[in-house]
């Protein structure tokens, strides 16, 4: 019983400080690293069509 009460209190506390609702409720957006990196393939001499006769 005591554990349940503690969980309810923590949930309420979390809810009060939440950044979002629904699917995003658990996201701590302020502290997430949202870096996106794409990889541009270098074209090496072996991948051009020179001498490809």
């Amino acid at each position: 019983m005591q554990d349940d009460e503690k969980n309810i209190q923590e949930d309420a506390k979390a809810q009060a400080g939440a950044q979002a609702t629904g699917a995003a409720a658990k996201l701590d957006l302020d502290n997430l690293d949202l870096t996106v990196e794409t990889v541009e393939e270098r074209i090496s001499p072996s991948e051009t069509n020179v001498f490809d006769k």
Binding site: Q19, A20, L32, E37, T38, V39, S46, F51, K53
Partner: protein, 756 residues
């Protein structure tokens, strides 16, 4: 002569978009000489088709996963471990998707959809990534659309002999055993001829040859082709070759091959066949020692005008990865100019310059069109002399050939005039590739190019004005070239934006036939001889002035980046059109002008750059992720460093730069551990790296349905709300530009739980 079966094969690896010319020329000649049972096999396209299949990629996934654990490094990721890490990461995130989509990708390239850039680019990527999966299964070997290399060096016979027996690293051993050998054993050819044009074919060709030699000891196995014209003599003297081959034909193959087949059929002396080097195995009394090669006198080349047109009958046209057939046709052999100090290509086909008459060419083209339904031709030539540049269009127009074509060309201002270029266009010419090389007159003189910058400008402009797409061949690292001179080459190109559409750049190599090798002091270089390289053709060198080889490799990267700024085809993912032989040409052949195509590329790149975060953005279907212990992006960049690139076998020869691996390992810093997520989507086929936090947001977006729904959940009125919403919007826009998100109207519905 139906009782004398002959099989001629083009071994892997060659380009996968159109047939190679070598075997069809030989087949035509043998059939003309009365050999009726001549089979031709393009084992390169057959192998690509086999490897790029659902079944084979499933096999490759299991093999790669077992061979390459994703996290095999306890601490940092060293340069030497980076390649395996990259392969393991790509396998983990993309294998399932590739297995599912590979057949569709091939179908796209073979059909009308190939002309749709939105379908084309992902399909080509899927093929590239499929080959990376095949490579991962045979790590550290690498099979790409343009090359095949292993951890073994092509310039050492001991390495070559080990490579042809290494079933774990040589994918062709299993392929030949299971897919090719049974048919050959059933057919029992009396002669098997292998065309080894590229260095990438050496190990696959000898792999097959050894298997056939064991299975069919009475079959005479001969080989020829451009690469063997360079190293054939060394190969015949090397240990182990006699277990694979019976002979090598040097230079032009038609006459010697016909004489060889005739002699074998009639049981006459092989010693009388010109341009043949062969092993005398002692007749009825087999030798107990390794046979020594016997080198015959050279045979005189054919009068080309009398040679038949190439015969493509029997090739698997449906397997080439192009929407329409492009047939190669040799209008001449050798080079009428033949002075360039860096070029040895004309020597591989034998002495002198030979040509067909313009009317013969036009007649053959018309006949080939009627026979195969081919409307497009790739004229194979080092360059056309001024007379032919004028005569050929007239002959094609007179015969109403109704074809389109492309070819290499030499800067001939007298022939590529405004009127001349116009006539070429009218005859179907849609693309010409000129040897530009450099913008430095001093170097052009040293190269003996016999052309001026004014000439290249004028000729290119005339062709562009006529509607012909212009490609320049350029070179970086010619002895004594400085960094500033290389940059001047780039600057000169920049001055020709809108005229030049593609640049084919190559770093300079010294081969043993070139004038640079024979007269190193003239060019200020000193050759480096490597001990034990008994099949060496290309040589490293020290240069007393100008860039070092390493600096030239770095400059290659700088110049490629410059091309991406100045050439629309190179600017974004449309660079794949440049990299796949004839694909851009087929757009031109279908009526698109070079300007229209460039605009299409520009619009595509701009559209991607301009992507924002609209509300209907969703995860693309088939999105997969893999958590990684190191940064994939950093690993790829590490492996793209010139030092790391030098540590892979060289493109043309398959050899290794001496000590490059050790130097790369010593100088390239290891990567620290890092929590990363690699994402891959089944529609774009692109790798994108995220952080674990980014993945959390992606999953939330997937649960919310679309970006707008996710954004709504962040209340702008809460403290920090606007900043969070802005951050989220920025992230979504980046994912959109990276291709992981798409508007709801432009994609299929997202399956539930796809972000697993």
């Amino acid at each position: 002569m139906t009782d004398f079966p002959i099989t001629l094969a083009f071994p892997p690896q060659g380009h996968f978009t159109q047939p190679h010319l070598a075997i069809p020329c030989l087949v035509a000649y043998l059939r003309q000489q009365g050999f009726e049972d001549v089979e031709q096999r393009d084992l390169s396209i057959e192998a690509y088709d086999h490897f790029l299949s659902k079944d084979y990629l499933s096999y490759a996934r299991e093999k790669a996963t077992a061979r390459l654990p994703l996290d095999q490094s306890a601490g940092e990721l060293s340069y030497k471990e980076a390649r395996a890490f990259r392969a393991a990461a790509e396998t983990a995130v993309s294998a399932d998707v590739l297995i599912e989509r590979i057949e569709d990708a091939k179908a796209t390239l073979r059909g009308e959809a190939c002309f749709d850039t939105d379908a084309y680019v992902p399909a080509v990527r899927a093929l590239y990534h499929g080959l990376r999966l095949v490579s991962a299964a045979h790590f550290p070997s690498e099979l790409t659309p343009h090359n095949f290399t292993m951890a073994y060096s092509n310039d050492r016979s001991a390495d070559v002999q080990a490579a042809i027996r290494d079933g774990s690293q040589n994918p062709f051993l299993r392929y030949f055993r299971q897919e090719v050998l049974p048919g050959l054993v059933a057919r029992k050819p009396r002669v098997l001829g292998l065309s080894i044009v590229y260095g990438s074919q050496l190990v696959p060709a000898l792999t097959l040859a050894r298997l056939v030699k064991e299975a069919l000891p009475d079959c005479h196995i001969t080989a020829g082709g451009g690469f063997l014209a360079y190293i054939g003599k060394k190969l015949m003297a090397a240990p182990g070759t006699a277990d694979c081959l019976d002979s090598i034909i040097f230079h032009e193959g038609e006459g010697p091959l016909n004489a060889l087949c005739t002699a074998l059929r009639d049981g006459t002396d092989l010693g009388l066949i010109g341009s043949l080097t062969w092993f005398d195995r002692g007749g009825d009394v087999p030798l107990v020692v390794e046979p020594r090669p016997i080198e015959n006198m050279a045979m005189h080349p054919l009068k080309l005008d009398d040679a038949p047109a190439p015969d493509f009958e029997g090739l698997p046209f449906d397997k080439y990865l192009s929407p329409e057939l492009v047939l190669p046709y040799d209008i001449n052999r050798g080079c009428y100019y033949g002075e360039c100090t860096f070029c040895t290509l004309p020597t591989v086909i034998g002495p002198g310059y030979r040509t067909r008459q313009a009317d013969t060419i036009a007649g053959d083209v018309v006949a080939l069109k009627a026979r195969y339904g081919a409307k497009h031709f790739n004229f194979i030539t080092d360059c056309m002399p001024p007379g032919m540049i004028q005569d050929l269009p007239e002959a094609l127009i007179a015969r109403e050939a109704g074809v389109t074509w492309w070819s290499d060309a030499r800067v001939e201002p007298r022939a590529y005039t405004k009127a001349g270029a116009q006539r070429l266009f009218e005859s179907g010419c849609r693309k010409l590739l000129f040897g530009y090389e450099t913008a430095t007159p001093r170097l052009l003189k040293l190269m003996k190019k016999g052309q001026s910058l004014k000439g290249i400008s004028e000729v290119s402009k005339n062709c562009a004005d006529a509607g012909i797409s212009v490609t320049w061949y350029a070179m970086v690292g010619f002895p004594s070239e400085t960094v500033e001179e290389a940059r001047a080459s780039l600057e000169f190109l920049a001055q020709h934006e809108g005229i030049v559409r593609e640049v084919s750049l190559q770093t300079f190599h010294i081969d043993e036939v070139s004038q640079v090798y024979k007269e190193p002091e003239t060019f200020g270089v000193e050759m480096i001889e490597v001990e034990g390289a008994d099949l060496a053709l290309y040589h490293d060198y020290r240069s007393s002035v100008g860039m070092t080889q390493e600096e030239a490799a770095e400059m290659f990267g700088e110049m490629m980046a410059g091309f991406r700024r100045h050439l629309p085809i190179f600017a974004g993912d449309t660079i794949f059109y440049f990299m796949q032989k004839s694909h851009y040409f087929l757009h031109l052949a279908s009526g698109t002008t070079p300007d229209e195509f460039a605009e299409r590329c520009r619009v595509r790149a701009d559209e991607r750059r301009a992507r924002g975060a609209q509300a209907d953005l969703r995860l693309r279907s088939g999105f997969t992720v893999q958590e990684l212990p190191f940064s994939y992006k950093d690993a790829v960049e590490l492996l793209g460093h010139p030092l790391a690139r030098a540590a892979r076998p060289d493109f043309l020869t398959g050899r290794f730069v001496a000590n490059a691996e050790e130097e790369a390992a010593a100088r390239l810093a290891p990567l620290p551990r890092a929590e990363r997520v690699l994402a891959y989507d089944a529609e774009n086929h692109d790798f994108v790296e995220l952080r674990p936090g980014g993945l959390e947001v992606v999953r939330a977006l997937d649960r919310a349905g679309d970006f707008g729904s996710l954004l709504e959940q962040f209340d702008a009125k809460l403290p920090g709300g606007p900043e969070r919403r802005a951050r989220l919007t920025h992230f979504a826009a980046e994912l959109h530009r990276a291709g992981l998100l798409a508007g709801a109207t432009t994609q299929e519905p997202v399956p539930a739980g796809s972000a697993h």
